[in-house]
């Protein structure tokens, strides 16, 4: 089943030549063979067998009328709530937490017939770019197990890349779906902010978080996105069809490339793959033009103010009172202090403290207030550039997958996000598609390129992604 798409599986399921039970068996075989070293999964769900069985029965009855994801083995990042399943966010503070309800995205996937294979590893509370920050041990890249799969949705990416699921769901706050997709040779999608409900996602940066698919094709990503999207009374930041102006899909696009952004820090190997992709698009009749978006270069600085600020307030709820870990103390206050000291890992503590600082009186204007103003200016800058071009293109990451332990200081890991955070800060949709490989130490490592569209331009971004991959 390795690298099969949902569309290919669907055809076989409807014909009956290969059933959801076969698919789950093959997925489990791949997991048994590879997951010992890859560690993509935190838990495999026992009820997947029954779901696959039922799905197989339904195909016999319903054929092509069956729901679109019926019987598809799908992996779920473990910061998305599935009723009755442990949802740990890869943190000791939630090690034994069992979700009491389904996230909206889970309810929608369930309705569409998906079989949930298991929950996947992530950087603790989705804070990281390598999945080395998990309290339950790192995930490794199936293409080269000495390298990281990216993060924070590294478990979801590795699960699909090793054939341990046909698709997976992740969350993207600053690149956490797109970057691991790029490192693992997959398609990764970050929707327009508000297109997908955040109800039932363990919050990290509420003004940035979106759930998105990791898949083997752009069509698969689009299929899943169209199932999980939609406004939701449980998330008041969800958008409707009327929120933004309609964005058209075209035969050929005028694509902007901010070359000023690609001067420093971009590896030559990634640059070559990126430039080759642009040449192919040009040959196919698309127009490639230079654009200037100077504020985008400041995005990472603004992001590492806004995000920790939101983290510090979102994670205040983990206090050992209502759920999760509680460490006994002499009084309630000391229990808060001990529980959070014991339950949170180093990176989570760092971001909480950083967020506490940028929000504290006296520093608020210089940091958080300023970053929010920069963010508003970035939105204006993008509006202007999208009046001239249909989409923007950038590499997804500055380098291909790096070795475990290679980036030990936090700032060097943060720089991984440089090309992905602008889409989160401004709320526009972005996709990473696998555009080629580069040879490092005799291993072919995948490289991703990123297409960014205007607000509500999700369909256009998928269309451009399909054109790049020839789908």
């Amino acid at each position: 089943m390795n690298n099969m798409t949902i569309q290919e599986l669907r055809k076989k399921f409807v014909e009956g030549s290969y059933t959801p039970v076969d698919a789950l068996a093959d997925v489990k075989k791949a997991i048994a063979e590879r997951d010992g070293e890859v560690h993509a999964y935190l838990e495999l769900f026992e009820d997947a067998d029954e779901a696959a069985q039922k799905a197989a029965e339904r195909y016999k009855e319903e054929g092509d009328d069956a729901p679109p994801l019926l019987g598809m083995p799908i992996a779920i990042k473990n910061n998305i709530l599935i009723e009755g399943k442990k949802t740990t966010a890869s943190s000791k503070i939630l090690e034994n937490y069992v979700a009491t309800y389904d996230a909206t995205v889970i309810a929608k996937l369930r309705e569409a017939g998906a079989v949930f294979v298991g929950s996947t590893n992530l950087d603790e509370f989705a804070m990281g770019t390598s999945t080395e920050n998990s309290a339950f041990g790192p995930t490794r890249n199936p293409h080269d197990v000495t390298r990281v799969p990216g993060g924070s949705s590294g478990g979801s990416a590795a699960a699909v890349a090793m054939g341990g699921a046909v698709a997976a769901l992740g969350t993207d706050t600053g690149g956490s779906v797109r970057q691991p997709a790029a490192f693992c040779g997959l398609v990764g999608y970050k929707p327009t902010y508000g297109a997908v409900s955040r109800h039932g996602l363990i919050a990290m940066g509420s003004s940035l978080d979106q759930a998105g698919p990791l898949t083997n094709s752009v069509s698969d990503a689009e299929l899943i996105h169209n199932i999980i999207k939609g406004d939701d009374s449980m998330d008041s930041t969800t958008i409707t069809d009327d929120t933004y102006k309609e964005v058209s899909v075209k035969e050929t696009y005028r694509i902007g490339v901010p070359r000023h952004f690609l001067q420093e820090g971009l590896s030559e190997s990634v640059r070559t793959v990126f430039e080759d992709t642009l040449k192919k698009l040009e040959a196919a009749g698309h127009e490639i033009v230079d654009v200037s978006v100077p504020l985008m270069e400041k995005g990472l600085a603004a992001y590492y103010i806004v995000m920790p600020a939101e983290v510090s307030s979102n994670l205040a709820r983990f206090d050992g009172v209502r759920y999760g870990l509680r460490i006994e103390g002499d009084d309630l206050l000391s229990e808060y202090h001990k529980t959070r000291a014991e339950g949170f890992g180093a990176e989570v503590k760092r971001r909480i403290l950083l967020g506490t600082y940028v929000l504290s009186s006296g520093y608020y204007d210089a940091y958080y207030g300023k970053a929010e103003q920069v963010r508003e200016m970035m939105r204006a800058e993008l509006r202007e550039v999208f009046a001239d071009v249909d989409a923007l293109m950038l590499p997804t990451t500055p380098t291909p997958a790096f070795k475990l332990g290679a980036k030990s200081d936090p700032l060097s890991l943060y720089l991984e996000d440089i090309f992905t955070v602008p889409a989160n800060l401004t709320g526009v949709p972005a996709i990473s598609v696998p555009a080629g490989t580069v040879d490092e130490d005799g291993v072919a490592l995948p490289v991703g390129v990123q297409c960014i569209g205007p607000h509500a331009g999700d369909a256009r971004v998928f269309d451009l992604g399909k054109k790049i991959l020839g789908e």
Partner: protein, 96 residues
């Protein structure tokens, strides 16, 4: 950023820190703040706040589910409970 600053932030954030954590956080947070201070080089204009494309929405104040429908499931997740209550340590001292 000095050690005392980190210790103060940790108190505000309700996290006990070990000595070695204070040392490493002092270094890393100083370096991160150096990087993010880049935003101060950007001239921003003070504009009156406007309602954006997204704004807060309130739902009607009405019953959304049967009383007690979720109580057991939610209380079962509490580290300590007594009947229908979540149990916590005493907040006020004996003489207060």
């Amino acid at each position: 950023m000095k050690r005392e600053d980190i210790e103060h932030l940790a108190t505000l954030a309700r996290i006990d820190l070990k000595d070695e954590e204070v040392a490493s956080l002092t270094d890393s947070i100083t370096s991160i703040l150096g990087y993010v201070s880049d935003v101060n080089a950007i001239t921003t204009e003070e504009k009156p706040k406007e309602v954006g494309a997204l704004y807060n929405v309130m739902r009607e104040d009405e019953e959304t589910h049967e009383p007690g429908q979720y109580t057991e499931a939610i209380l079962n997740e509490a580290p300590k409970r007594e009947g229908q209550y979540i149990q916590v340590k005493k907040i006020l001292g004996d003489n207060e």
